[in-house]
Structures are given as C-alpha cells and as structure tokens.
C-alpha cells in the first residue's frame, strides 16, 4: 500500500502541473504609440508617419482633384494612431456604437492651424480595439464627418478640402488612457499635398520646320497664376512616345509654351504636368503628337 500512497501523491502533483493555466498574459507598462499615419480610403492606400520627437508626421499625402463634383482638391481619408495595447475606449469614444465628435473628448484637431472644421462638417474620433498584427493593440481614428448626419463609422467620412497649390496641414492631438489609467499623449500631423489636377491634352499652333507652340487647358483644380506647369517632349517611336524629357527651362504659370530647335519633318510627343508653387507635382496630361513641317 505504500506504493499506492506514493502514486497518489505523484498523481496530485501531475494534476496540479497540467492544471496550470498557460494562457494568462497581459501587456504591462504604459501605452505607447507604435505607429501613426493617414489612410486614403478612396484609393485604399496607407501613408506611414515618421516620429519626430514625441510627434508623428506623415508627409506627401497626395490629395485628389476630381473626387467629387464640382472638382476641388480634396482628400478622402483619416488619421490613425496605433498603440501597443488596448485602451480605455470610453476616453476616446463616449458611445460604443457611433464615432463621436472630437470636441466632446480630450482630442483636438486643427486644420491649417484652425480649430474650426470646414463648414457643415465636424471632426470625429473612433476607438478601434481591433489589431491585425500582434504587436499592435488598438487605434484611435480621426476623420471628418457630416455635422448634420453623425457617422456610424469612418466608412461615412466626408472628403477633406485641400488646396490646389499650398500644402494642407491636419494635426490631431490628444491623450489616450489604458485600462489602468496610464496616459500617453499623441500628436500626429498629416501634410496633404496639393493636387492641381491634370492639365488638358496639349494642342499645337504655329508649327514650323523647327518649332511649335504647345497649348493646354488649365488643370482642373489649378490656382490661376500660382499653379506651375512643366512641358515634356518625347521622340516618336513607332507611333508611340519614347522617353519624355522636360523642355521648359523652369516651371511656368502660363498655359502656352513655344518649343524651338526641332528637326524638320519629325514627329514629337508632348505632355504637360501641373505642380504646386511648392513643387508638388500632379499627374501628367495625356500625350499628343505633332510633326514639324
């Protein structure tokens, strides 16, 4: 029977060993911002921010001209801030169902330095505890919504107006708390690049044996006298343009450009790109060809 007793003891030890819960885990420590960025929902593209001190800056987010009618430069998207752990959602989003105006929360959003949102809209924030990656815990999402019809989520975001020439700055600041009350402040700036739109397809006047004048309609969201254009020329390769090269010595604000020094009886292709005064380029126009006399 001594054997039996020993075995019973061994059994108890074994039972205790297998009974331990192997799944207890927690993320300790204060919350930390692990990444931030801007998501362009119209194009399903994300732009990551880089940390600059305690702030996060995301640059070169290209706005879009022609997203809506009438065509204005605008941006359909939102700022997101990702944390390493779950947060206290009620600190960010008072209603668990709907996204909440940021004014009611400890968040602030400035739009080109102004705390006033564009007319008829409001800045909203959502808490999202979901994380697709194991090293990311939760996110705060800030977007522009319709002030009259509060959104149920960031799918209902309205477009953020931007400029055809100047960079539009969007800054979201706030403080997030984790479940233990530990706080982390965040500061995300998104620089939305101007999108003057696409210039009209070039047409040609005054073509001689060695020169031609290229003309184009202003880009859809251009700012007259400020938006700059560059003209590119390419040789003809079997009826299609070869490699384009810039022929304007410097960006011009006019809608016409005369190109000299061409070869007689040769076909050339031209296209035009609009850019902001700050040098942010848009999408080139369609190419068109002309043959010298």
């Amino acid at each position: 029977m001594k054997t039996l007793t020993k075995c019973m003891l061994a059994a108890l030890v074994a039972t205790a060993a297998v009974g331990c819960d192997p799944f207890e885990e927690a993320v300790s420590g204060p919350p930390v911002v692990i990444t931030a960025g801007f998501t362009d929902t119209a194009n399903a593209v994300g732009f990551s921010a880089t940390a600059s001190g305690s702030a996060w800056i995301v640059s070169n987010v290209p706005s879009t001209c022609g997203l809506n009618t009438p065509a204005v430069p605008e941006m359909s998207g939102f700022i997101f801030v990702k944390f390493n752990k779950l947060l206290d959602g009620s600190q960010i989003q008072t209603s668990p169902v709907d996204c909440t105006p940021v004014g009611a929360l400890n968040l602030a959003v400035t739009y080109n330095g102004s705390a006033t949102p564009p007319a008829g809209t409001d800045w909203y924030a959502c808490y999202n505890p979901q994380a697709p990656s194991p090293d990311e815990g939760a996110s705060v999402i800030v977007f522009l919504g319709d002030a009259l019809v509060p959104p149920v989520g960031w799918i209902d975001a309205v477009s953020i107006p931007t400029s055809g020439d100047a960079v539009t700055t969007l800054q979201a600041t706030g403080t997030a708390h984790d479940k233990d009350g530990a706080a982390v402040s965040f500061d995300v700036t998104a620089n939305l690049d101007p999108d003057p739109g696409v210039p009209g397809t070039p047409t040609f006047t005054g073509t001689t044996a060695t020169s031609t004048t290229v003309n184009w309609a202003a880009a859809e969201c251009a700012v007259a006298g400020t938006t700059e254009y560059e003209v590119e020329r390419a040789p003809d390769v079997a009826g299609a343009p070869g490699t384009f090269a810039v022929v304007t010595p410097a960006p011009i604000t006019a809608l016409t450009f005369t190109d000299n020094g061409l070869t007689t009886g040769t076909t050339y292709w031209y296209r035009v790109t609009a850019s902001s005064s700050g040098g942010v380029s848009g999408v080139p126009s369609a190419a068109a060809s002309v043959t010298t006399l």
Partner: protein, 1114 residues
C-alpha cells in the same frame, strides 16, 4: 474427472496476466512457462495443446530449454490448455479468455507423477486484469461487456466506453485527437473512409450505421501508443473482429426496436433565439429505430472449413415538428414596461435597441403561430450483411475470406428551408468490403508468415429531383439585418401574427431554391499486408516482426452546385458564394459577366498510394520482469489528381520510432509500471487531392438586386420590410443565364472601397511545399497498475500528446494565393511565378491601408491527462469498469475538422482534412491559441453489470452505465467577408465559458431463458438517458456575422455562455467588444443569440430512449 484434474494441477494464481506486443491484428497469442511443481525448474519438451470453440482443430507447441512455449495466431475466444509430458500428470486449465491482438501469459506448473499433493482449491476464472506486458493505452470491449452493459449498437458507441475516449460529430476521438485521425480496422482490413478519414459511412451529414454488435466478437480500442505495425493514425485504432464459425452450429435471429414514438418525449425547441422559425424532434409522429436479422455460423467440414453469415436491415425514421412563432415585444399587453418585458436593451444586428421581451432565463418570449406546425422527417434504410469462410489447410496453414457490405438510402432535411418538398433530398450510400487472409507457420513454428489482401469500396449518390438539381440555392443571410418571415412564407395566420413588424417575426439564413452542392462519388481502397515474425532467444525471449503494409486509394468525384452557383442575398446583391468556373480577368476589370467561364460540373479523379514498412521486437528480458518493446515504422504517401500529375503530395520520410518499457515490480504479475514514447504519422485522406490538386476552381461574383432584379426592393429600409416583397416567390433560375453565366448584364465590385471585384480563391491546382513533412504527433505516457484484490485492479495513467507537424493549406497573401505546407516551417518556394512561404505572410490592414508582414504560427495541440481507473473483469457473475480522467487540451489546431467554423450554426464542423480554413488567412490567426473544442477537463465513466442465475436455465442481468463529462469550451466568433461566419476569434479561443457538465445514465435489464437446450430466448430492455437530461451541447458562437478583425490580448475570460444574457455579460466584463468595427469601419451588428443554444439538431442531449431487444439463439 474434473475434480481429479484439478487436484493434479496447480496453476500459478496470476498466470494469465501477461499481455504482450501485438503479433497480429485479428488473432491473439498465448505464451507461458511450464515448470516442475516439485523443483520449480522449467520443464523442456512438454507438449502444450490449445483448443477452443473458435479454433479449427487444435494448436500445439513444445516447451524449449527454458520451459517457454508460445501459441500464436489464435482467434479470440475461450481457450483450454492441456500440458502433456511423460512422467508428469496431465495438466489442464480452461479459464483463458484470449482477446484480439493481445498476448496472454499462462504459466503452468506440472506435477510429477511421483509427487503426492494435498488436494487444494485451484483459483479458476481469474480473468486477466493487470496488463503487465504492454504500455499500449486503451482496452478491449468484450462480447460480455456489450451484452450486459447498456451501450449503443455500433462499434463507435462501444469504443466510447474506454477511458480517454470522447464522442465528436464524426465519431469518437481519443486523447484529444479527432475521430478522423483514427484507423478503423475490421478483421484486419482498413475500412477507414479514404476520403475524409472518418469511420466508414460517417461522411459529412451522411452517417450510415457501423457494424451491429450482433456481428462483433470483440472491439479492441487502442487510444494511443500502439506498436509500429499500426500506423496512418494520429488518433487511435479501433480494431473490430467479427464473429466466425465453429464446429457446432450457432446462430440467432434478433430484433431491436427503439420505439421513440411511444417512449421518448419531445425534444427541446431548437431555433435561433428570437427568430421566427423553430423546430423540435417530435418522436410521437412516428420516430423509431429498428434493426432485425439473423446470423449463423458452423462447420462445412468439421475442423476444416467453417462459415459465418449474417444479415440485418436497419431502418430509422426521425420526425420533427417545424413551426412559426412571433416575438413578444415591449409594449404588448402585459409587457408595457421594460421590467415586465425583462428587456435588457441589447443592441441588435440592425443597431437598434432590441424590443423583444425575455423570460427569466433570457430567452426571447414568443407566441406560437396557430396552425403553423409542419411535420418533417429524416430517415435511413440500410441492409447490412457479413460473411466469413475459414479454411484450415493443415495445422500450420490457414486461409480465410470475409465480406461485409451495406447498401443504404437516406433522406435529409434542412429546417431553415421553405416548408415544402424541396427541403428533403435523398442520398444513396453504399459500402462493400472483401478480404482474404493467409497465415502459415514454418521452421518448427518459429517463423510465422501472414498475408492479407482486401478491397474496400464505398459510394455516394445524391438524388435531387429535377427542380432541386437545376435551381440555384439562395441563402437569405445578410449579416447586417434580419428579413421578415412574411417575405418567405404567408400561409395561415402568419401575416396577421407578424403584423408587418419586423421585430415580430425576424429570420436570417432562410433558404430557397435548389439543393446547392450536389455530388456523386466512387471510392476504392486496395489494401495488402504481409509480415514475417521470427521467434528467438537471446537474453530472454524475442518476437521480431518485419512487415509491409500497402494501400492504394482512389476517388472519382462528380460535383456541381444546383443551377450553377450557390447565392447569398446580402447587402443589395446576390453574391455567388460558391460555384465552379474561371475568370478571364483583363487588366482593368469591366464587371462584365462575359469575363466568367462557368464549369457546370467538376469531375475529379484522385488517388493516394500509402506504403508503410515496419520492424519491431518484443523482448522479455530474462529473469527481470522487464519487457521492452521497440520498433520503427516508415510511412510514405503519394497523392495526386489525374488532371495535374506534376503537383502532388509526396512524403517519403515519415520515420516513426516507438519504444515501451514495462516492469512488473511485484514479480508476481500483480502490478506494473510502464512508460512509452512514440511518434505517429497521419495519412492525409483523399479530400485534399480531390479539392486542391484537381481542376476544381471556385469563383465568386455579385449581381446587384437592382437593376437586374427590379422586383426586389433595393434599400436597406425596404429589403426587410414585412408585408412588402415576397422573396419566397423569387425565381432563382433568373440569376443564371442559359449559358451558365450571370444573367445580370453588369456585376458589382466585390469589396466596396477596398479590393477587387471578382474573387477566385481556389483557382487552379494548389502547390505543395517542397520537403513537406507528414502530419505527426508524439505520444508519451506512463502508468502504474496494481491488483488490489483478486480480479480488481486500480490504475493511474498519465498520457500526453504533442503535435509535431500538421499539413494545412495557407494563403501567404491573405486570400489571394493558396498552398499546402507545414505552417511555421520556415520554407520558401516559388510556383507558377508566385513566391510562397510557410512562415512569412502579408496581410492587408483595412483600417490603416497598409500591408503588414505577419507570421504563420506553428501548429500546436497539446494534450495531457491523468486517469484513475478501476477494472473488474467478468467473474463471479459481475463486471465493472470505472474511470475518472482529468485532461487539458490546448493549442491552435483542433484537428482534421473545424468544430467552430460556422459558429455552430451549421451543426457540424468543416471536415476537410489538411485543407480546413484553420490556417488559411494570416489576418485571422491570432487569438487561436486557447482551449480547443475537444477539451473536457473532467470525465467520469462508470459501467457495471450483474447476472443472477435464477434457475439453471434462467438468468436475469442488470446493467448500468454513467458518463459524466465537462462541457466544451466556447468562443466569441466573428465573420469574414469571403469565408462567412465563425472563423475569427474575437478574443482568445475557448475563453467564453463552457457548455454545462452533462450526465448520462443508462440502464439495461435482460432475461435469458434456455427453454430447450440449446435454444435460448433473450429479451432485453435498455433505457438510455434515464434522467431525461437534455443539457445543452452546443451554443451559438457567432458574436457577429460581420467581417471583422480580432482583438489582441483583450484578456476577456469568463463564464459568459449559457447565462441569462451572455451578450450583456460579455460586454460588461469586456467593454472592448462594444467598440468592435467591421473591416470597413462600421460598428458590428451583434448576434443576440450568441451564447444561447445553437439552432441545430445536435444542440441538446438526446432525450430518454427505450430499446427493446428480442433474440432466439442456439
């Protein structure tokens, strides 16, 4: 005469106490030592003769210099041994019950003629209890057990009585494994379903009965740690030996009736809580389960040629009552305040406060709609037959042929289908087996040769009617809102009861149209085994065995979706969620149906060659009480599909070493300590070759409701408007043009805002990772067993298992491409221009718009258990078996089927061995590591029976059984836009609480009356579930049907499911779930039925059932 013999022979009390290593799958072995009673020394040259009613002729053996003898290849049964030697008195013992694939030690002490001994009482009837020769886990279920203890009629039910066995939807699983990981062997032939790996006949939703216990001699259940001659299993081995002939004619006619229509109460009402369609099993309408038949065995030539034959039709019919109901709402008479209404204000799937009133248990209150009862039924008719011929060529050579078969027809029913004839579909399910076996002994019986060859065939043919086969199936299942039942049904007083109020009669998942997936298949397995065993001495006794085990499995499969596609009405579209075809996708998709090239029917022909080779030795170390069993098995598998022979699963390096050590620490056979370790490989069933190596290409597309089908209201506000559109009248054939292409001129983009417009998730053959390793498990354990009093042993057993590798299909880009590999195995390869990695994957974060690099985790499934057991074998008219097991099953891989995919709403998990959705999508692989569905921490099994000999010809037997088991773990599951419901673990798997502990008490009473020898009349009554417990077995685990991502490290854990308001309890304990969003940023819709009994026919324990048995035997 008998008394004299007893006086002459003194048997070692624990003589029959040695169970050795398997020497064959269908026979057993008796070994022992003959010693001189006067000197205690071994006696050489003694002749040991074995006879049995189950043995043709007799088998003899001569003792060697050490007094050892060995009698091999003995059919299971009762044996008599006689020892004859000049100068000694003849010695005999008759109490040996030999079981299949076991080795008994029967040591015999022979008394010299010269010695005079006092008469002494010889302990007879000592059934072997302690298994001192093997560390194999499991047990043998004998005919005595089957005929005295209340158990089901199939060997599946019988196998569940063994410790560490637990039932699952496809059968019985062992030590945390799932039933499709077992090998099912009948008379040495592998009859495991070659397509899905489950028990024969238990295909998805097409369960056919397994062999009736009347035809079974014994069931040997190996729950783990079996020797190398067994393989292709990471679960257990169920080794069934059928009855055979004998020198006398024996037989019976029998009938067993379960007249549920008379005895069984109505089942619990099943249906999604608060929805308008519900049903319950309604046995009173005529449910019954009947088998009747006969069997006979006997000699054709005495001691030379024996036969056995049996035949039994099996007929089952199960009736259900389906009815409509309307909810009681806040504001109804008597429910005017939230308090009266018990309204908790849960937000429903439409993001509106739920106006439904609830009872004290949290279930929605409803009124049954008068006149809505409809009686539906399922049924099955099978004709089971067995036949066996055994021929003894001479005393050293035997030949036998056996056959089994079972043609069946089945009728199935889908409750959420329109209540008309289209809800019933017939299926023909057939199986046929034939097996030949030769055994020969050479070199003075030191060399034993066994050769088996057999064929297993099975087929399935669904037989939909013309409408069912040509009309698309539509599931009206928009995750974001309910439909009103009046949109589908209008009979009787439904319109008045629902009163144009959606909350009165909501319904989701309603089905209209044809049969959906329809198929026909033919399956064949050619199996051959040969082995050579050699017996020799060397520091003890050795039994070395070398063998080959070859199988070729083939599957011819024709499949189609009725009307071409299966649609889901969802989000303003008819989404073709299933259908065969290909896309011609231009650089810029134009949403033109002409880009679709339909495949009306897919025909595949796949095969798998599974070859194995093994070498093993059982060494009884001289004079130590120690036995060492060791061996190794090599398994290879090559699976392919004829249309694409270059892309195959080809594994050739599955080396499976196994070792056991058993020490009889008492030296008298009264106890043992043993330990074992082994690696076990699993052969992937043919479903993988059929679905992924062939030309099966599934496509998905979406046809907008409007303008294509303008009769359907198109706004969310009107789609679900009761009293408006009657979707039940919508003609699904309008969805598909005569050319099989979508009838709508323009399709809609697939994912609004994100992604592509057409989806081809299974396009083309799926590549296989080079250097693929077979799925394997390490099993290890130890036990201590001690015979406390005579015939009664107590054992303590530890058994552990660790998954080594699994084979699964994975997508390295979250749903674009797929390949088959070992998750987490750090291999990269290219195929068809695409790069695949078994470790690195890329997924798309729909919130941030970024691509994220993630890792495929390694598969984990860990099982640890500790069992205390007590076994009392049949002696002194009673037998008993009791066990308690504490176990933990955890990991991220449940096995070949996914119990939870679908969230329990379908009733059965996805059975796609090796290609389940478990590792498909990197974005859903978090939170999967937790308590697996097969985790039942506490299991208690008690069985016992006693026989009263009232008069010499009249016996009464009473038997009882109890099984108590912890409930299974539950999860909160979310949906996926393409995969549907139940694939995303919102938080850690298995952390949402358990289903209740279940108690099952069964009783049996049997009378046996020999009214005129040898004719015996037997009558029995079984009462199953005497307490009529109808505990919940399955909760609805779909917290949301929306496509969503998961919460990392939410720390949600609690007993949420089964409480009066599981959703509210979860939301208050774990507020993060309140903020869950869909992948495109909207708040998710919550399923208010989460944590409540799932709307399936297996959501509750089967109610009380009676079974009457009558047999005339001779």
């Amino acid at each position: 005469m008998r008394k004299k013999l007893l006086r002459l022979l003194r048997l070692v009390p624990i003589a029959v106490a040695f169970w050795g290593v398997a020497s064959a799958q269908t026979t057993g072995t008796i070994i022992g030592v003959v010693t001189d009673a006067a000197t205690g020394k071994p006696v050489a040259g003694a002749l040991v003769v074995a006879t049995s009613p189950n043995l043709q002729g007799e088998q003899t053996a001569m003792t060697d210099e050490g007094g050892n003898y060995r009698l091999g290849q003995l059919p299971a049964g009762q044996y008599k041994l006689v020892v004859q030697l000049q100068g000694y008195k003849p010695a005999e013992r008759t109490d040996i019950r030999l079981s299949v694939d076991k080795t008994l030690r029967a040591n015999i002490t022979a008394t010299p003629e010269a010695v005079q001994l006092e008469e002494q009482v010889v302990r007879t009837g000592l059934a072997p209890v302690v298994n001192v020769g093997s560390a194999e886990a499991g047990g043998v279920v004998s005919r005595e057990f089957m005929s005295t203890v209340p158990v089901g009629r199939s060997f599946q039910a019988i196998a569940q009585t063994v410790p560490q066995a637990a039932g699952d939807v496809y059968g019985v699983g062992f030590q945390g494994g799932q039933s499709p990981e077992n090998s099912y062997i009948v008379d040495g032939l592998n009859v495991t379903d070659p397509v899905y790996g489950s028990a024969p006949g238990t295909w998805t939703g097409r369960s056919a009965p397994t062999l009736l216990s009347n035809f079974i001699e014994e069931v040997d259940v190996k729950t783990g740690s079996f020797m190398p001659e067994y393989g292709r299993a990471t679960g257990g081995i169920i080794n069934v030996v059928t009855k055979g002939g004998s020198n006398e004619f024996h037989g019976s006619v029998f009938a067993n009736l379960r007249p549920d229509s008379l005895a069984t109460p109505d089942g619990k009402i099943v249906g999604r809580d608060g929805e308008a369609i519900a049903w319950f099993s309604s046995p009173g309408e005529g449910t019954y389960n009947l088998d009747f038949g006969g069997e006979i065995g006997g000699p054709i030539l005495k001691d030379k040629l024996w036969f056995y034959a049996g035949f039994a039709p099996i007929i089952t019919k199960t009736y259900y009552n389906r009815f409509q109901r309307s909810n009681v709402l806040l504001g109804d008479a008597g429910y005017t305040t939230p308090a009266e209404c018990s309204n908790t204000g849960v937000i429903d799937a439409n993001r509106n406060p739920d106006p439904r009133c609830r009872d004290s248990s949290g279930f929605a209150l409803y009124n049954k709609i008068p006149g809505s009862d409809a009686t539906m039924h399922t049924g099955q008719t099978s004709y089971q037959y067995v036949g066996k011929l055994s021929y003894l060529i001479d005393s050293n050579n035997t030949l036998s042929v056996a056959t089994y078969g079972q043609p069946s027809t089945q009728t199935t029913w889908a409750p959420l289908y329109a209540a008309n004839d289209n809800a019933n579909v017939d299926t023909a399910v057939n199986s046929f087996d034939v097996l030949g076996k030769y055994t020969g002994k050479f070199l003075d019986k030191h060399l034993v040769v066994e050769v088996d060859a057999g064929v297993h065939m099975q087929s399935i043919e669904q037989q939909p009617n013309a409408y069912q086969s040509t009309t698309p199936l539509i599931s009206w299942n928009d995750p974001s809102f309910y439909y009103g039942l009046t949109a589908f049904e209008s009979a009787g007083s439904l319109e008045a009861a629902c009163n144009a109020n959606l909350a009165r009669c909501p319904i989701r998942g309603y089905l209209t149209g044809g049969n959906g997936f329809t198929d026909t298949n033919d399956v064949t397995r050619y199996a051959g085994r040969a082995s050579v065993a050699y017996l020799f001495s060397g520091a003890g006794q050795h039994n070395a065995k070398l063998g080959i085990d070859l199988e070729r499995n083939t599957l011819d499969h024709t499949k189609y979706y009725s009307g071409g596609y299966q649609f889901q009405a969802r989000g303003g579209n008819f989404r073709a969620v299933r259908g065969y075809g290909n896309f011609l996708i231009p650089a810029t998709p134009t949403n033109d149906p002409n880009e679709i090239f339909p495949t009306p029917k897919v025909a595949t022909s796949s095969s798998s060659n599974n070859f194995s080779y093994f070498l093993q030795d059982s060494w009884q170390v001289q004079d130590t009480g120690l036995t060492i069993n060791a061996g190794i098995r090599l398994e290879t598998q090559k699976m392919e599909e004829t249309s694409n022979p270059t892309n195959t699963l080809n594994v050739t390096d599955s080396w499976a070493p196994r070792v056991q050590a058993i020490w009889d620490f008492t030296g008298t056979g009264r106890g043992k300590i043993s330990g074992n370790w082994g690696r076990f490989f699993w052969a992937v069933p043919l479903d993988m070759g059929d679905r992924t190596f062939g030309n099966e290409s599934q496509i998905q597309f979406r046809e907008p409701f409007n303008p294509c089908y303008p009769q359907l209201p198109q706004t969310a506000a009107t789609r679900n408007n009761p009293g408006g559109q009657v979707y039940g009248t919508f003609d699904p054939t309008a969805l598909v043009g005569p050319d099989g292409k979508p009838a709508c001129a323009t399709l809609t983009p697939f994912n609004v805002g994100f992604g592509n417009f057409l989806f081809n998730p299974y396009g083309g053959p799926t590549p296989v990772q080079p250097g693929l390793k077979a799925s394997s498990v390490d099993m290890f354990g130890g036990d201590l067993e001690y015979e406390v009093v005579s015939d009664l042993s107590v054992g303590f057993v530890y058994a552990g298992r660790r998954q080594v590798n699994i084979i699964e299909d994975m997508s390295p880009d979250d749903g674009g491409h797929f390949f088959i590999g070992n998750p987490g195995s750090n291999t990269t390869f290219t195929y068809g221009g695409a790069t695949y990695s078994t470790t690195d994957a890329v997924m798309y974060d729909s919130v941030t718009g970024r691509s994220i690099n993630v890792k495929f985790p390694e598969a984990e499934r860990s099982y640890d258990s500790f069992t205390v057991k007590l076994v009392k074998n049949l002696s002194k008219n009673w037998l008993a078996q009791a066990s308690y097991t504490y176990s933990v099953l955890r990991g991220n891989y449940a096995g070949p089927f996914m119990s939870d995919y679908g969230g329990g709403t379908g009733g059965q998990g996805q059975l796609d061995p090796g290609i389940t959705a478990a590792f498909d999508l990197p974005s859903l692989l978090y939170n999967t590591n937790g308590y697996l569905p097969g985790d039942h921490p506490h299991t208690i099994k008690l069985f016992g029976a006693y026989t009263w000999n009232v008069t010499p010809g009249f016996n009464v037997t009473g038997g009882a059984g109890y099984t108590g088991q912890s409930g299974r773990p539950n999860s909160a599951l979310g949906g996926h836009d393409l995969y549907g419901a139940g694939l995303a673990y919102i938080f850690q798997q298995g952390f949402a609480g358990r289903t209740p502990f279940t108690h099952q008490v069964d009783l049996r009473a049997a009378l046996s009356w020999v009214f005129s020898a040898p004719y015996e009349l037997r009558f029995s009554i079984d009462v199953f579930n005497v307490l009529n417990q109808q505990a919940v077995l399955l909760y609805d685990q779909n917290y949301t049907f929306d496509g969503m991502q998961i919460i990392q490290k939410a720390g949600c854990k609690g007993d949420f499911v089964g409480t009066s308001n599981p959703v509210a309890k979860l939301q208050s304990t774990c507020p993060d779930v309140l903020y869950l969003k869909t992948v495109d940023g909207r708040p998710i819709g919550v399923n208010p039925s989460w944590g409540k009994p799932a709307p399936t026919n297996i959501s509750y324990q089967i109610p009380l059932q009676l079974r009457f048995g009558l047999a005339l035997a001779f």
